[in-house]
C-alpha cells in the first residue's frame, strides 16, 4: 500500500456502494440482510483508534463514518477523535448528495487523498472547507461480503500530503476495522442461523407453541396454534390464555398452571382440555416451559399437543373391544341355546334326586314307627343334589353373563372336562361316542376361563353338527389336550363327521359363513378372535378319511405369577 491518490480518480462506474457485485457481475442486493449492530466494546476500541490516529498524525480530526442502510442516502459519524479543533461530533449525519470527501470514497469504493481542497476546483466548495478542514485522507471500509460499511479518514486544517507511513497506518487501521466487522458479521450470521432454526422449529413443529407473559397474555404463537385452536396469530396475540382457549369450567386450572410457570420452576406437563374458536373442546397434552427471561416479562412457553386423534383411536380401540365382547357374548347365548337338552338333563337329574329323597324322607318320618336315620340320610342326599343343581346354574350363569375379560390361571383339562359335562346330554342325544385323551401335568395358561370354555363348546357343537347326518359309521368324537412345542398347550376336537373341502378352510373362520341351516356363522369367527386375543391360534384340518380336526393352542406361562 502506498502512493498518493489524486483528485478526480473516482470510479462512478461501480454498481453501487450499498451493493456488492456478485460473480455474475449482476447486482446482488443485500439490503434484506438484517442490520448488524456495532457493539459498544467495538465502538470503544474504534474510539481509541481515532484518538491515536489524530495524536500520531498531528491532525485535528480522525473519524469513522458509517453509511446507513437500507436507503444509503446518508452516513453518520460513529467515532470521532477527542482532539482539539475536531469539528465533527459523533452522530453527525451527512447527506450523500452534498459532495463530501467521505461521500466520494463511499461512492467510488476507493481511497481518496486531497492535500488541499482550496487549491482544487472540485473540492474548494466541499462542505469540509466550511469547517476549515482543507485536506483529507480516507479509506473505504468494507463488510466481509463486499458491501461498503463506511470510511475511516483523517482531516487537517492545513495542506497535508500524508506521508506513505501515515497512509499505511490509516490503511492498517482500516484493516483492523474490517477484521472487527468480520467478527461481528460471523457472530451475526451464527445468531441469524440460530434464529432461523428456531423460527423453522416454531413454524413446523406439529404442536401449538405459545409464548406468554406473566399476565398470561399471548406474546407469540406458531402456525400450528391456528390449526389446533382456530385463532390466527393476530387474533391471539395480546389476549389472555384463559380468555381465549380455556373452557369456562377450567379457568382455575389455567390460572394454577400459569401460577406454576415461575422462571425458577421446572418443566411440567398437564393432560387437559382446551377450547377451539368454534367452541368445541380440544383434548390436549400440554407442556409448560418457564423461561428465565432477561426482564422481558415473558413467563414461558406453553406447548399444546392435540390429543384428538389419539383419543379417537383409543375410543375406537375400546369400542372394538366392546364389540368383540358383545359378539362373544351373543355367541355364548346362542351356543348355550343349543345346549337345552344338556341343561335340562343336568338340572333334571338332581331335581329327580331331590324330589325322590324328599318323598322318601317324608314317608320315613310319617310312618307309624318313624325311621329317623333313613330320613336323615334322605335329607343329606337332598342337600347334596340341591348343591349339584346350583352348581349347574352357577356354571350356566357364568357362561351367560356379560363381563369384562379376565386373566386368570386356567387348567385346560378341567375347562374342557366341564364343557364336555355340560354338553354330554347333547352328545348322547346325538348318539355320539365321546373319548377324551387328556395330557397329564398340563401347564396352566393365563386367560379368560369363560371365553376358553366358549371356544371348546363351539368346537364340540360344531363337531356334533358335522356328525348329525352321519349314519354309515360311528359318530365318534375325540377330545384331546396336549402340550406342544414352544411352550404352548392346546385342545383338539376330532370328529368323524362330514368334514370340509380343504379349499374352504379360510372361509370356515369368516363371520357369517355357515353350512348349517339354523347357524349364524359366528362360532368359529368368534372362537378365532378369542384365541387370537390369547396370543394363540385356531386351525382346522380335514381328515383323509371322514371328518375333521379343529385345534387351538395358546402359550402357557409357567413362570408367570398372577397376583
Amino acid at each position: 500500500m502506498g502512493g498518493a491518490y489524486y483528485v478526480g480518480e473516482l470510479h462512478h462506474s461501480r454498481a453501487g456502494y450499498g451493493l456488492i457485485a456478485d460473480a455474475d457481475g449482476g447486482r446482488a442486493v443485500n439490503s434484506d440482510a438484517p442490520e448488524i449492530a456495532i457493539s459498544s466494546d467495538v465502538l470503544r476500541k474504534w474510539q481509541r483508534i481515532v484518538d491515536l490516529l489524530a495524536n500520531i498524525m498531528h491532525v485535528p480530526s480522525a473519524v469513522v463514518c458509517k453509511i446507513e442502510p437500507p436507503d444509503y442516502t446518508h452516513y453518520t459519524v460513529i467515532s470521532s477523535s477527542n482532539s482539539t479543533g475536531n469539528p465533527f461530533p459523533v452522530d453527525q449525519i451527512f447527506s450523500m448528495d452534498i459532495g463530501t470527501f467521505c461521500e466520494t470514497v463511499i461512492k467510488s469504493r476507493e481511497p481518496l487523498l486531497v492535500a488541499n481542497g482550496l487549491e482544487n476546483d472540485q473540492w474548494k466548495s466541499a462542505p469540509e472547507m466550511r469547517v476549515g478542514m482543507v485536506s483529507y485522507l480516507g479509506f473505504p471500509v468494507f463488510w466481509p461480503d463486499g458491501r461498503v460499511f463506511g470510511t475511516i479518514c483523517v482531516l487537517d486544517n492545513k495542506t497535508n500530503r500524508y506521508s506513505d507511513m501515515y497512509q499505511e497506518l490509516l490503511s492498517h487501521c482500516r484493516d483492523v476495522l474490517q477484521g472487527d466487522l468480520q467478527t461481528l458479521a460471523r457472530l451475526g450470521s451464527e445468531l441469524e442461523e440460530q434464529k432461523a432454526h428456531l423460527s423453522e422449529l416454531f413454524a413446523r413443529v406439529p404442536e401449538a407453541i405459545v409464548l406468554a407473559d406473566r399476565d398470561c397474555r399471548i406474546v407469540r404463537v406458531n402456525p400450528e396454534f391456528t390449526k389446533i385452536f382456530g385463532y390466527t396469530a393476530e387474533e391471539a396475540i395480546g389476549r389472555r390464555l384463559q380468555d381465549l382457549i380455556a373452557p369456562d369450567e377450567l379457568q382455575e386450572e389455567v390460572e394454577s398452571v400459569m401460577y406454576r410457570m415461575v422462571p425458577t420452576g421446572g418443566v411440567f406437563a398437564v393432560e387437559t382440555v382446551r377450547r377451539h374458536k368454534n367452541g368445541m373442546p380440544v383434548p390436549v397434552s400440554l407442556l409448560c416451559v418457564p423461561v428465565s427471561s432477561l426482564g422481558s416479562g415473558d413467563t414461558g412457553y406453553v406447548i399444546y399437543r392435540d390429543m384428538t386423534e389419539t383419543k379417537r383411536l383409543q375410543d375406537e380401540q375400546r369400542r372394538y373391544q366392546e364389540i368383540q365382547l358383545e359378539l362373544a357374548h351373543a355367541n355364548r347365548i346362542a351356543t348355550i341355546g343349543q345346549l337345552s337338552a344338556s341343561i335340562t338333563h343336568e338340572l333334571n337329574q338332581p331335581l329327580t334326586g331331590i324330589l325322590t329323597n324328599c318323598s322318601t324322607g317324608l314317608r320315613m318320618l310319617t310312618d307309624d314307627s318313624p325311621n329317623l336315620d333313613g330320613a336323615r340320610e334322605a335329607i343329606r342326599r337332598t342337600m347334596r343334589d340341591a348343591n349339584r343343581a346350583s352348581e349347574v346354574i352357577l356354571r350356566l350363569r357364568t357362561l351367560y353373563s356379560k363381563r369384562e375379560v379376565t386373566a386368570e390361571l386356567v387348567d385346560l383339562n378341567e375347562t374342557t372336562r366341564e364343557v364336555i359335562a355340560l354338553s354330554l346330554g347333547e352328545l348322547q342325544k346325538g348318539q355320539v361316542i365321546v373319548r377324551t385323551e387328556f395330557a397329564d401335568d398340563l401347564p396352566l395358561v393365563i386367560g379368560d376361563r369363560v371365553q376358553l370354555q366358549q371356544v371348546v363348546l363351539n368346537l364340540l357343537l360344531n363337531a356334533l353338527d358335522a356328525m348329525i347326518g352321519v349314519n354309515d359309521r360311528p359318530r365318534q368324537l375325540v377330545v384331546k389336550t396336549h402340550r406342544q412345542e414352544g411352550d404352548c398347550v392346546g385342545v383338539s376336537v376330532q370328529d368323524s363327521g362330514v368334514g370340509f373341502e380343504p379349499h374352504t378352510v379360510d372361509k370356515l373362520f369368516e363371520a357369517f359363513y355357515t353350512t348349517k341351516q339354523d347357524g349364524m356363522g359366528m362360532g368359529l369367527s368368534v372362537s378365532r378372535s378369542i384365541i387370537e386375543s390369547h396370543h394363540g391360534r385356531l386351525w382346522a384340518v380335514p381328515h383323509d378319511g371322514a371328518g375333521a380336526t379343529f385345534s387351538f393352542s395358546i402359550p402357557c406361562r409357567t413362570n408367570t405369577n398372577i397376583q
Binding site: A341, T344, H345, L347, N348, Q349, P350, L351, T352, G353, I354, L355, T356, N357, S359, T360, R363, M364, G374, E377, A378, R381, R384, D385, R388, G425, Q428, K429
Partner: protein, 131 residues
Amino acid sequence: MKPLRESSAIERSLVAVVDDDESVRESLPDLLREFGFAAHAFSSAENFLASDSIGKTRCLILDIAMPGMTGLALQRELKIRKHKIPIIFITAQKDEAVRVRAFEQGAAEFLLKPFSDTALLAALDTALRSS
C-alpha cells in the same frame, strides 16, 4: 290311590333301577323300599344284563340316555332274550320320538324326570298290572 304295601301280591317284589346318574341310583331304591318293594340299582344296562337279578326282577325302572347301551337298546335286548319284564322309562329329556318308540317296543310307562312319588306309584301300579 290304593297303598301298594297292602297288596300282598306284590309285596317284596324286586324292582330294578338302571340309571347312570348316581343320585337317582341312591334315592330311588330307598323310596321303592318305602313303597314296600325290594329294590336294586345298576349303573348301566350292561351291569344289569350281567347280574343274576334279571330273572327275579318284577319291574324295571330304566333311564333312556346312558353311555354305552341306551335304555331303548336294553329294552330290545330283553325282548330278544325273552325276558318279559315291564319297563317304566325315566328320562330327563322330553323327546316325543323316543317316547313313541318306547311304547312301540312295549313300555309300560314313560316318566319325565323329575317325577313325583305319586306318579311313580301309579306307574308301578300300571306296570305290575300289565305283567
